[in-house]
Symmetry: C2
Subunit: 629 residues, 2 copies
């Protein structure tokens, strides 16, 4: 199979067409849709739906509206593939990067100013757009520079409190330089915004904060341009917001939500993830037809595509699927514990809650992208006698609700927290989604147990323990992608503070958890021969005396987390307290910088967590240990 | 000098008066104002202004409105003294606790369900009220229980994004059981809400989120009761919000803001802190006259007060004033670095920014109680070429903006963060304000330097280093209360990763920072004789080789922070990496639970951080070390 793309010369031809500017923008946008589709299929993941819904808006901004000194950025950031396709089409990013989406040294899954200087600011964690716009304008004003700031937001994104927090101060300062355009495609990660957490009368709300608001068709460039022009003329002093009605996946009918019923249980399939060969081919054909129809109407010849071979990807053969195991385990324990209720922040599909919601709709609370609100709500539920379990990706749950989680913990109640997508894999979405600070954040909450299983059976044991045995709050940390361990995990016996000795070895012992690290350490042990491996699920409350006994030789802790506040430091502290001499045998390996974006293999290697790097580290440690003897 | 209070029998007489209920509530509220004034003067600190502005509202709720199954709590929580006075007056908290505000085992500075079971939920960190109310109502509905929830909020509090995040989902679920009353006293911590970050048309805003809104006089109980009654009749299905116009400090003319000009530079004096003997005596006389006038009009005899001696408090003689030194240092460096701008979250007075704002009004950005918004704004300013310094208490800045701080760090820019009120002192406000997780939170951000000075001169060196030499973001952690060290600090030479050897000793060495810990460790050394003391300002990036050399004998690290992710674990990790044998000499002392509320001496002792406890610990460690050889 091959992938097709619009080459640079063709993109240049299209944006040089001597026709009505709006028509030119539409043709350019459709060409960029083709390249976006190909980028994402090539990468194996990426946000197509929102790239397509915003494509006409962003193409118009970049081709027609932005002047020197102006800034544009997307607050949601998920639409990065679409933006990259446009910047490539404008010759502002080198063309070959089209094939390097989500690759190390390529184009990150979410915008990054260090990787892509054409990007204005880092986004991908939601709701920061207006705050950032205000910072730019105030800095420009202080420096006597002129410039406007255009910010694209999602609609689901507007469930985040920071968006509303930022509106009034921006109006109070009369920052007329700012125009927000809402890519109102009515769908968020899981399903319809109206079914997740309805926004109500968005225009009226934003107006009440002192902003000037208009609404228009976000796929009609002429209407959009006129709306913005009129708004600027009428309201030069006030910040402005345009609700642009768009269609998620716009351009490919099968990616548009025509067949997604307006129901809570619906799921939309093209938020993130690659389309796969069939949907790719059909989508490509449809987009080419659309573009050629446009070109024909504009009196121009059809587009000449180029091709390249599609990448071959290997699916894991016998992977551990922790999220699936979690979902099943939670359902099982919910049957035994009637007080258990589940709260979700628009990631039902990704946190394993689909079946729970179906089985126990009255015990499932969809909170939308509103982690603070979800967590404080859960705290009150716990005070009122329930056992709430809060769900989201670790990157959103643990920092955004850090204060609310602590507040709950001070009440002496039991709330469980599920943080998935933990660690550096998947490597594609980039650092906004690769959570490597959550152990430090959750582990510093007094009384919080923190635990990360490495295999499906341990997931089941952890969930059962958290629901029935833990006396206080628990953080359950999960690596999301299905992962091959390289061995069949033995039976799990969960014991407080202790782990499973997977291999014994006299020279030294790796201590880590999570399927990604355990698989790497296992492979390292295979090379080393005389090294042992302990899978230690406890991130806090580690039994140092047990570990000092169980771990022979040099002890190398490995963290899928920054070193500061990770499991390695907890191991060291536990050993120093219980068996001081063992503390001098410890070396900690982990993340020491902002996570790199790339394929899983690339980021594992980039951070020195691959089997070969662990072998090197083990040999180095052993010789040091012998030297210090 | 003596303090006067309304004894329980008199409170019972007043709330049993056979008169119009609204008049009775007003008389009871005034009696509770007297007791609140006395509580706060006795405690030496506490929030009088907001206790007085909300006193009529809360008295009415507790005496007339709440029924079995209903819940009431204050989202701001600062008004705890007022609530306690009311609950004491109702016989629901034992009377003697009137004299135990902010004492260990007494009534905490902010509401705490574990310390005071009559309290519904823990608050004091702002903006969580509506989220919690929703949790209570949803749990009650699930259990088939009926009950309403009344939530009091501040007005400055409504600058927090979580409040707005929580509104729409509450309206969407039709939670008519919830009534929010805004104690709209128009003043926040520093000054007028309108001058800090104006709320705009509050009623229109909340209505736009689908809530039913009314406005009334919050000091007219009859009007308030009627407003709530009418609102419930008209809008049974919708959540309701009443904007209650109140006067901060209401009841004592000198504590009301009549003389605070409507200007940005104004400062209101009775937000927190005890009034002091003169203002106390004048306030008491005024309140007694007010109450007796009411009683006379109601045909009742004057109130019979009782007295007790006022506590005697010793002011520190030669304290280190870090906040003042910080403010001066920032001003100095701002003169040398024109790119430096300061951002504040309504704590100008408490973070040392008053002079900066006066000298550089164009480089000062007041953001209101909106930490997320402030930090993202600062990130954009840094991208645009400025050197922004974000200010707030550590307890609000570091967890509430945890995600935004990380996002800034991923951009490779330099933003400085000032987190004061760090650690367990002052012990009076309670755990919502005693920040003991910030080193873990900030220290896990890749590239973030984290530093905490122990004396004024070190503050100056730290600020100069952060502004001129640091290449990336810096977290500056500060203990706020003026503190006596017990010795004259030597000259400071700030060297990367290293500290100051304050005392040498062969037996062992204390390693810590901050004036509170250094003073305790110094006093412990005086008792021990043969112990040394190193003041180590670096919370991360510690020079392990230097420390292993500089610290003789047993090494006891002391943390004004939880052990997980604190300085002690960073010391241990640095030693393990650079001088493994030294790691086996370390014992870490720190906080292992939610901080206790009490006087400074009480909380220091409760957490085992006092000089005597350190002496015991040192002797224990030394004998262990000798045993282990």
């Amino acid at each position: 199979m091959s992938l097709s793309y619009v080459p640079l010369l063709e993109l240049e031809r299209i944006r040089s067409l001597d026709v009505d500017p709006a028509e030119r923008v539409h043709a350019f946008a459709d060409a960029c849709r083709i390249n976006t589709l190909t980028m994402v299929e090539q990468a194996g993941s990426g946000h197509i739906g929102t790239s397509f819904s915003s494509m006409d808006i962003v193409s118009w901004l970049q081709l027609e509206e932005l002047r020197d000194g102006d800034r544009y950025f997307s607050s949601k950031g998920h639409d990065a593939p679409g933006l990259y396709a446009i910047l490539i089409g404008l010759g502002r990013i080198e063309f070959d990067k089209l094939f390097a989406l989500r690759r190390l040294g390529g184009l990150p899954g979410h915008p990054d100013v260090l990787a892509t200087p054409q990007v204005v600011t880092n986004t991908g964690s939601l709701g920061m757009g207006v705050s950032k716009a205000r910072g730019f304008v105030l800095a420009d004003r202080l420096a006597g520079r002129e410039g406007r700031v255009f910010v694209l937001t999602g609609d689901g994104e507007l469930q985040e409190g920071q968006f509303w927090e930022s509106l009034q101060p921006t109006a109070n300062r009369g920052l007329g330089e700012i125009t927000v355009i809402v890519d109102h495609n009515k769908l968020q990660s899981d399903t319809w915004v109206a079914k997740v957490s309805d926004l109500g009368d968005l225009g009226r709300k934003v107006e009440a904060f002192g902003w000037a608001v208009r609404r228009c068709d976000g796929h009609d460039v002429q209407a959009l341009a006129q709306t913005v022009r009129e708004l600027n003329a009428a309201e030069p002093e006030r910040p402005k917001l345009v609700v642009a009605d768009t269609v998620k996946g716009c351009g490919v009918r099968a990616m548009e939500p025509h067949d997604v019923p307006q129901e809570e249980t619906s799921l939309y399939g093209f938020h993130s993830g690659a389309p796969g060969p069939e949907a790719y081919a059909a989508g490509l054909a449809e987009l080419v037809e659309l573009l050629n129809g446009r070109l024909e109407r504009l009196g121009a010849g059809p587009v000449a595509l180029e091709e390249r071979p599609a990448p071959v990807r290997r699916a894991p053969e016998r992977p551990q699927r922790l999220i699936q195991a979690y979902g099943e385990a939670l359902l099982t324990e919910a049957g035994r514990e009637p007080r258990l209720v589940a709260l979700d922040a628009d990631l039902r599909l990704d946190t394993g809650l689909v079946a729970f919601r179906e089985r126990h709709p009255e015990r499932f609370f969809e909170c939308g992208i509103a982690e603070m609100d979800m967590v404080s709500q859960a705290g009150a539920m716990a005070l009122a006698g329930l056992l709430p379990v809060c769900h989201s990706f670790a990157c959103f749950l643990t920092p955004r609700a850090a204060e609310q989680i602590f507040n709950n913990a001070t009440e002496g109640t039991k709330v469980l927290y599920h943080g998935s997508l933990a660690g550096i894999v998947p490597g594609g979405p980039g650092h906004s989604h690769q959570m490597v600070r959550d152990i430090a954040l959750m582990g510093s909450v007094p009384g919080m147990a923190a635990i990360e299983p490495y295999c499906e059976e341990e997931v089941r044991a952890v969930v059962a323990w958290a629901v029935h045995e833990a006396v206080g709050p628990v953080y359950i940390r999960l690596v999301s992608p299905p992962w091959e361990l390289g061995f069949e995990p033995p039976a799990v016996e969960l014991a407080a503070g202790r782990g499973t000795v997977l291999r014994e070895g006299d020279a030294g012992t790796f201590v880590c958890t999570g399927p990604m690290l355990v698989s790497q350490a296992w492979a390292a042990c295979e090379q080393l021969g005389d090294w042992g491996l302990i899978a230690l699920p406890w991130l806090r409350g580690i039994d140092g005396a047990w570990l000092a006994e169980a771990a022979s030789g040099a002890i190398v802790t490995i963290d899928n987390h920054v070193l500061s506040g990770g499991q390695g430091e907890a191991v060291l502290a536990a050993l120093a307290a219980a068996a001081p001499q063992a503390a001098s045998r410890v070396r900690s390996v982990g993340i020491d910088r902002v996570p790199a974006c790339g394929t899983n293999d690339e980021v594992i290697e980039a951070h020195g967590l691959g089997a070969d790097a662990l072998v090197d580290c083990a040999r180095r440690e052993l010789s040091l240990l012998l030297e210090n003897g």
